[in-house]
Symmetry: none
Subunit: 354 residues, 4 copies
């Protein structure tokens, strides 16, 4: 393995929302790769490349590869002998390990949150994770029970912080308020889908959370499953994620061939030209664009090859080039900026009621 | 004035959400009529007709007809000498009386809520209203300040309950939680737009509020400004609300002539046939349909003539005829039932995870 | 009296800290003038000029002119018949009316806060003030007692908000936290001295309050008792405040003749040149400079003549001309920018620990 | 090793602030010596001398000698086989062990407080410390998170008390109030710099903490890095701390040669005469002077040789000789008594308002 391309000291860090935890703006996630298509030595290579280049945050979930993702990552962390204090490890409970039909091995009941976390820690061979996420909302469990269960884990030293994933803004706000009422620790971040082509929930629905709660975020699919690398500009390559996970991506592929899908590809083609002007790739541009939004605490990368990680981190070099002018040009091409939530009492810049 | 067509004893009552207040399923509102196009004796006639036929709930707002709506209604209540304990009077603060540009005579600051309510009570010549609404959300005022100010009014005896109007589900949920944290009284109902043709927010966004908070509702525009009476089936009549409030309804009229507007009219035509089958009018069918949804606490009527009120109340006769089968036929014509909020952990009727 | 020079609609408004109250960036205060040197008709002229030009906020204190300031302002408010909802009236308790030696007619005990406020309201002929301030900290009264007493006034409808004046950041933070613990209303703003020549406490000590509590401010002496008008550039004129309030300003005058005082005058002379470049006066520049700092909610003017108010409001025209470049030139002349509070864990702009 | 010079029974004990812990007025700290210049047998000799002469409190920090200070002290405690119940061991988290650039191995996040404490306990070979300090404030972490994390350590039995070091009075007050609100344990003491020549923060800024919170203190550098021993009266000796830690003390040495530095030396010379009159050394006088201030709970000694400890403890003999008259003479020479925080409502000794 060659020397790291990036000096870890140049990584940019941000506070994870209202917490004191400092997270790197790019982190690495096991979704769809680790423990599934990627096992054994390659995982060690991937994670070592991450760490050596400044990515010290690793995202997981009980359901990723039916628990195998945690097993692989846990093994590598042990083998590489990293200082536990220097890395950030996260996982998520909700789906159980195999999305089984069993009623109590999933969801956000006190029972599954505690039992699920314990099983994850065993697979990871760790005493605690840094952040534990509720992987989805569970409308059949009162939010108070869920808030209490995550606080139990924190009080037991099994986790330092907790977060949400794919919750509605309303559910998150409620969890924050319930925690306040109970003098408990509220969730500190959401893990949502966010990318150039998927913006509405992040920029519109969650906007009050960024503005009033200083909520954090760990975003996934910043490249829209590869769409924003430009590799689908001329159809679906045989070795792509869409081709290798046919069942999972069925709808995505269908959408790709729809008029909307084709319009997206046209946008990617136009953005590619801007990338070239900036002397970079479409991929780096798309990744750098996500962290221009400072409501993004960290952007999760899902590379399958070590060299992709190094490639992705070139986004750190593009980032300073994304001046307001360049961002405005990108907005014009994307033409999908969500409107802010309606307000009946806002003022314009001069302070006048509008 | 002729004898009442309906025995008030046959009025259907529902609890207003989580409160002990019993509201009639049909109430009367001053919006766009009382104090504006309708003044003096006709208002007394309208309100007397309401009361004599079982409608004892009157809805108002500081902004309706720039305060004149409250003045008219207050005068009539005094003149008719009704037992204050037998009627329900509501009003709303937010816009001020004249939607003026003044910074502190509008909004949901403590200052405007208290001062605005006081001014409304003076116009109404009442010591208190039964319910006071926040007529819109105010994103420039912290929700805690607003919750505290409405509780001040309740503690001072100026109002018995408070509610929201056109707030997002998230804002309502937050107000409920903040009130719980402060051991204060939360809002008990929302005043939203709801009708056969305007369902999304009520049935989808607010669904968790109905389900988990037992939130109440006082719906407005159940006939979509007349659209659902069928009177626009052949164009806009000269004496209709759209014709007499041109500026206000400009966009509505524009929409009426759009392809979507025309599709709506087709639906109304099909529904009219069902109404005829049931031996009633389109208007009565549309009104009755709203109260089939038991999340509707009361449906606000906005009639300009006493005979319209009597006509509207025929909905009480149609209501029992709206069996599940008939409702299903209506749904098929409407073809606009909003999907429920996504849930990853729901069970089907047999209890199986779906 | 001539027509107002400024359209009130052009006044700039800001939220008063974490409250929903909207305050004009310039307000008018009675300190040292109203009820003392200025009585009767001139007060009415002054306040009418304020209101007609967009200043609808009037600041007072029980101690100003031994209560005469409140009496004068209250009389004028009544005589001019303004809509109470459209104006903001504030007062302060602490010193009593005559800075007497009596032990319980001053301070921040529950007794004096309640009794003092009642006496102020009687002098003002008002049912309530919008904001009531603790005019100084009282180290002999527990802060909890003071927080409770101000909440009593708010619960009784005697005031909508409460604030502090010349408290230490520590005392303010404590009051905020005590209010949180008791589920009470915390103070929303501080009334401190702030000007080009008096910056340390505002910009340094209070900095955490602006940053973390979104605390508001109503600043006094923005012209440093006239120093920043340039009128002392060539000595003390006979009709100036320093000359007419000799005892009060004894130390100030002494300082004026010290080396430090002379250095200040040199700065004012240099700034006057910038004012001339911008086509304005030293006074307007100094006033506009205070509101460039958005931690200033409102800047209290203390004019003794109606024409001064109009002159002062020209600051609204200078304000947009204070670009970052101009502000930087001013900073260079002032050469008194306070350092931020020391931090042992700050990061530089790239996120690196420093 | 000779017999102890002092009977441990004569040691003076004070409660550590508002806690029930009794601390000796003199304690021993590892800063700049233990694990750095002093290792192995000498550490055992030093600590045994402390203990045998009545000093049973040992102060440490994760950052002292990059963790070596804890390792040395932990080893000695184990080797000497002291009763754990009879000694007080403290440590501090914040800087990490090597003041490294790593983002999460320092600061006051939940992560670092818990992980840092665990690592310290491992180095000390202890199950718990008596007091754990936040070695500095961390403005990037909400104080609530820090309060919760220290309470976690206390709940887990890893520490009995927690304190602050070099925090502003405002930050300490806030931590106390947040802990009260959460029904948690607040900090009990501050570890500040305090000596005859460094008084402002201790006597002025912290004064409300002593007065109203009965806050405790464990002061460091009571001899101002040797300045108050008189050894710099004639320049910097070659074996002094300033000479051996050149980089660290660069600024101190520079100051020593400045006019202010020279003025300080003159004061020390005058104080030395008083010491001689009292039949003691400058060192003993300076140490005894600190404990005359009963807001000092314990004064941390940093001796590098066993005999220095015995010398230092002679301060216990001087202490009773520091009558009000002698203290007044010392004040006159020091001429640096900080003014008390301004108060507008204080009473003089007769109870009159002043």
């Amino acid at each position: 393995m060659s020397a790291p391309a990036f000096d870890p000291k140049n990584m940019i860090y941000r506070n994870l929302g209202p917490s004191g935890l400092r997270v790197p703006v790019f982190s690495y996630g096991g979704w769809l790769t680790v423990g599934g298509t990627q096992k054994g030595d390659i995982v060690k290579e991937l994670m070592k490349t991450c760490y050596d280049n400044g990515i010290n945050m690793f995202d997981n979930a009980e359901t990723y590869a039916s628990g195998q993702s945690e097993i692989e990552m846990g093994r590598v962390i042990k083998e590489l002998g990293w200082d536990r204090r220097d890395i950030i490890v996260t996982t998520k409970v909700f789906f159980g390990t195999n999305r089984s039909e069993k009623q109590n091995t999933r969801g956000l009941s006190r029972k599954h949150i505690i039992e699920g976390c314990q099983a994850s820690l065993e697979r990871l061979q760790l005493d605690y994770v840094d952040i534990i996420f509720a992987h989805r909302p569970d409308v059949t469990t009162p939010i108070e029970e869920t808030v209490r269960a995550f606080n139990y884990l924190i009080d037991q030293g099994k986790a330092f912080y907790w977060g949400t994933s794919e919750w509605s803004a309303m559910q998150i706000q409620q969890a924050i308020e319930v925690a306040k009422r109970l003098n408990m620790v509220g969730p500190v971040c959401e893990q949502p889908h966010y990318s150039m082509l998927h913006r509405e929930r992040f920029e519109q629905e969650y906007e009050p959370l960024w503005r009033y709660e200083n909520y954090g975020s760990t975003i996934w699919s910043p490249l829209d499953s590869g769409m924003l690398t430009g590799k689908y500009n001329n159809g679906i390559p045989e070795d792509s994620r869409f081709a290798t996970n046919k069942a999972f991506f069925e709808n995505t592929v269908k959408e790709l061939n729809s008029p909307e899908g084709k319009a997206k590809i046209e946008k990617v083609k136009s953005l590619t030209k801007i990338a070239e002007e900036l002397g970079t790739t479409m991929t780096s541009l798309a990744l750098a664009w996500t962290i221009v939004n400072t409501n993004v605490s960290t952007c999760i990368l899902g590379a399958t090859k070590p060299e992709q990680i190094v490639e992705n981190l070139k986004a750190l070099e593009v980032y300073p080039k994304l001046t307001p002018e360049v961002v405005a040009r990108i907005e014009k091409i994307l033409d999908n900026k969500p409107a802010l939530p309606a307000s009946y009492n806002r003022r314009d810049e001069s302070g006048k009621l509008i």
